[in-house]
């Protein structure tokens, strides 16, 4: 099946998991463990001075998981760059999920600010994983500036709608020269299986696991779905057949 390779590092798991929205850090930790994920995203926020004890990070074993800080909350390239530098200063980690989402309703990423920030951050030595709408041209532009992956959305964050952008995802997957990580809107294990079947290199899931009735069991379900989808993709699925038009033979003119 092959390992996932991002920026020269290899991983067995093709499921990335976010750490937000869990009912407690302890549940989060158990779900992460059950998911088999090796890369988990974290966010940067102001310390809550009134409740400084909240320490999600303590529950994440950094020997086991690669932390992938995101720039969620950034609405412009400048804000994203500031968050990126803060994240690196906080952790020493150079990997970054670049998220620039000026729209508060759907949290859709801004292509212009994302490309601007990506170019600067790559030059500053960050390993940039940009979150984008499923825009094949934008994906090519980001690869040109040197991002380590592209992360096109399946549907808006938290909407659990699955691969609404499937047609565009297929184009991105076909044309991409870096790993494609489908992120956002993956609400069910069948969604991630579908993403893997069409050739995605990995998926990122947060809301669907964190807000499930039993997050630990749901994490296992997603893990299995990613594996199933990947196996199917590698096994060479048959494309759906259309009925052939009845017509006279096209190659009859070739003599035996």
């Amino acid at each position: 099946m092959g390992k996932l390779t991002i920026a020269g590092r290899t991983f067995d798991s093709r499921l990335l998991v976010g750490t937000g929205k869990f009912s407690s850090p302890q549940v989060m930790a158990k779900a992460l463990a059950a998911s088999g994920a090796e890369i988990v995203t974290v966010a940067l926020r102001r310390v809550d001075i009134d409740n400084p004890a909240d320490d999600t990070l303590r529950e994440i074993d950094q020997d086991r998981f690669l932390l992938l800080p995101n720039t969620s909350g950034a609405r412009t390239a400048e804000e994203a760059i500031r968050l990126a530098r803060l994240a690196r200063a906080a952790t020493g980690i150079e990997w970054l999920k670049l998220e620039v989402t000026p729209d508060p309703y759907y949290l859709l990423p801004c292509p212009v600010e994302t490309l601007k920030a990506a170019e600067i951050l790559v030059k500053e030595g960050f390993v940039v994983l940009p979150y984008i709408n499923a825009d094949p041209i934008l994906a090519k532009r980001l690869q040109d500036v040197g991002t380590a992956t592209v992360m096109p959305l399946g549907s808006p964050i938290g909407s659990n709608q699955g691969l609404k952008t499937r047609a565009s995802l297929e184009i991105i997957i076909e044309q991409s020269t870096v790993p494609v990580v489908v992120d956002a809107g993956l609400g069910l294990p069948s969604h991630v299986a579908e993403a893997m079947e069409i050739g995605a290199d990995a998926v990122l899931v947060n809301t669907a696991i964190a807000t499930a009735g039993d997050p630990v069991e749901m994490a296992v379900a997603f893990k299995l779905a990613v594996e199933a989808g990947r196996k199917a993709c590698v096994a060479g699925p048959r494309a759906p057949q259309r009925t052939a038009e009845a017509s006279s033979p096209l190659t009859g003119f070739l003599r035996e």
Partner: protein, 70 residues
């Protein structure tokens, strides 16, 4: 009275009670330094530099940490 703006909120101190360093500020606020990074007037300060970073009246300080997110 001296003041510092911490995470957008102005905090006042008697002149001799204002924390002299970032470390002291975190102690005063009861904030653990784990995975915290600071900005002082827009300049990033790493955790291992907190004890050496002296604070001045009127500075803007952001205390930022890693938390759960997608």
């Amino acid at each position: 009275m001296k003041s510092l703006k911490v995470n957008g909120v102005e905090r006042r101190f008697d002149p001799d009670e204002m924390p002299g360093t970032l470390s002291a500020l975190l102690d005063a606020l009861g904030v653990g330094a784990n995975a915290v990074v600071a900005e002082v007037d827009g300049r990033i300060v790493r955790r291992d530099e907190f004890h050496r970073t002296e604070l001045q009246d009127g500075q803007q300080i952001e205390l930022i940490k890693l938390m759960g997110g997608g």
